[in-house]
Amino acid sequence: MSRRPPRGEYIETDTGNKVARKATLVGTQNIMLGGKTVIQPEVMIRGDLVRSVQSSSSASSSTGAPANNTAVSIGRYCFLSRGCCLRPSGRLYKGAFTYMPLRMGDHVFVGAGSVVQAASIGNHVHIGAKVVVGELAIIKDYVRVLDGSVIAPNMVIPSFSIVAGQPARVIGEVPEGGHEDFELREMYKTVGNNVNPAPS
C-alpha cells in the first residue's frame, strides 16, 4: 500500500470513505457511510436531527441504547460535491414532531450547492448543482435531476426519469444504455489525498 501523507485534505477511512477535513458533519455518530463515499469540503450533514418518535414496536424496548438512531445513511460510491447539504426531513407523526431518517442508496451523486431533505434516494441517482430536494421526497433508482431544479416536498420520482424545473417535473426518460453514466467508481478515484497511486 502506498504511504500516506501525514495530513492530507481528506480523511480516508478503512472502508474507503474520503471525508474532507473541511466538511461540516454535525452529529457524526448518527451518520452511516457505506464505504467508498466521497465527501468534499464545505459539505454539511445534519446527523444530529435524529428521529425523536420511535415506532411503537421499538419504543417498548426502552432498555439500553436505542437500536437504530441513524439520521443519515449513505450507500457505497456516493459523491457529495462541494457545498451541498444533507439533512433529515421533519414532519408531524401521531401528533408529535419528528425527523425522519434520510436514506441514500449506492452511486448517488449530489451536485455542488444542493440541499437534500429527501426521505429516500435510490441507487444510481444523479442530482445536479443548486438543486433543492424538498422534505420527504422519494427518488427511485436511475433518476437524473438537472441543475437548478426544485423538487416539491413529498414528491415521488419514478425510476429512469429525468426531472427539471421549478417545481420539478418529469421531462424525460433515461435512454436505453444510459445507465453506464451513473457509475461513480471512476469519479471516486479522481479525489483524495494521493490521486495518482504511488508505485509501492
Partner: protein, 210 residues
C-alpha cells in the same frame, strides 16, 4: 461494519471564524442557539423567546439592528442581515454607525422560519408573522413580506418589493394567495418542532452574551 464514524473519531466540526466585532445581544432566556452560529456586526441582535438558531446560521448586524421574534427557526447556513447583492461588502462598521444606527436591519415577526441557505438582506427588511423563507431564497433590501407568506425554495424577492399577506411565491416569481386558512395549524406545528429542536441542539447563549 460499514460505520465510518467510529467512536474514536472526533466530530469534524471546523472552528467557526467570525470576523469583526462581537455584537451586543439581547436574548430571551428560553432561546436555543447553537454553539456554531455566527453573530457579527456592531448593532444589537435581539432574539425573542423560544426561537431556535441552528448551527452555522449567520446573523449579521452590519446593516442595522436585527430583531427576531418569538418561536422563529433560523436554519443552518442562512444569513440574516447580509449585504445587498450588488455590493460585495458593506463599508466599515464605523462609517455605517453614523448613517444607519437608527434603522433596523432585519425584523422577523413571530413564528418565522428561515430555511437552509436563505438570505435576508439588511436595510429595514421586514418579514411578517408565520412566514416561511424557503431553501436558498433571497429577500432583497428593504422588502416587506407580509404575514403567513410562503417563499418557495430559490425564490428571489427584489429589493423594496412588497409581498401581501398569505401570498405564496413560487416558480421563479409567480404569486398566488394561500386560501387554505392553515396559518394557526402551521404555527402549532412550529411550536412542536421547536420542542423537539430544543432537546436536539445544544444551546450555548452564554458564548454570545459577553
Amino acid at each position: 461494519m460499514a460505520a465510518a464514524s467510529s467512536n474514536k473519531r472526533h466530530s469534524i466540526l471546523p472552528p467557526v471564524q467570525a470576523g469583526g466585532p462581537k455584537p451586543p445581544v439581547q436574548f430571551s432566556s428560553s432561546i436555543t442557539i447553537a454553539d456554531s452560529a455566527i453573530l457579527t456586526g456592531p448593532h444589537l441582535i435581539a432574539i425573542g423567546s423560544e426561537s431556535v438558531i441552528h448551527p452555522r446560521a449567520r446573523l449579521e448586524s452590519q446593516g442595522g439592528r436585527l430583531a427576531i421574534g418569538r418561536r422563529c427557526i433560523v436554519h443552518e447556513r442562512s444569513t440574516l442581515g447580509c449585504a445587498p447583492a450588488n455590493r460585495p461588502a458593506l463599508p466599515s462598521p464605523v462609517g455605517l454607525q453614523t448613517t444607519d444606527a437608527s434603522l433596523p436591519g432585519v425584523t422577523l415577526g413571530d413564528y418565522v422560519t428561515v430555511e437552509v441557505g436563505a438570505m435576508v438582506e439588511a436595510g429595514n427588511t421586514i418579514i411578517g408573522e408565520g412566514t416561511t423563507v424557503g431553501v436558498g431564497a433571497r429577500v432583497g433590501k428593504g422588502a416587506v413580506v407580509g404575514r403567513h407568506c410562503t417563499l418557495t425554495p430559490l425564490t428571489v424577492i427584489a429589493p423594496g418589493d412588497v409581498v401581501p399577506e398569505f401570498t405564496v411565491v413560487y416558480s421563479n416569481g409567480q404569486r398566488r394567495t394561500d386560501r387554505r386558512g392553515a396559518a394557526g395549524l402551521r404555527n402549532k406545528g412550529q411550536a412542536r418542532q421547536i420542542d423537539v429542536l430544543r432537546r436536539m441542539i445544544p444551546s450555548n447563549p452564554g458564548k454570545f452574551s459577553q
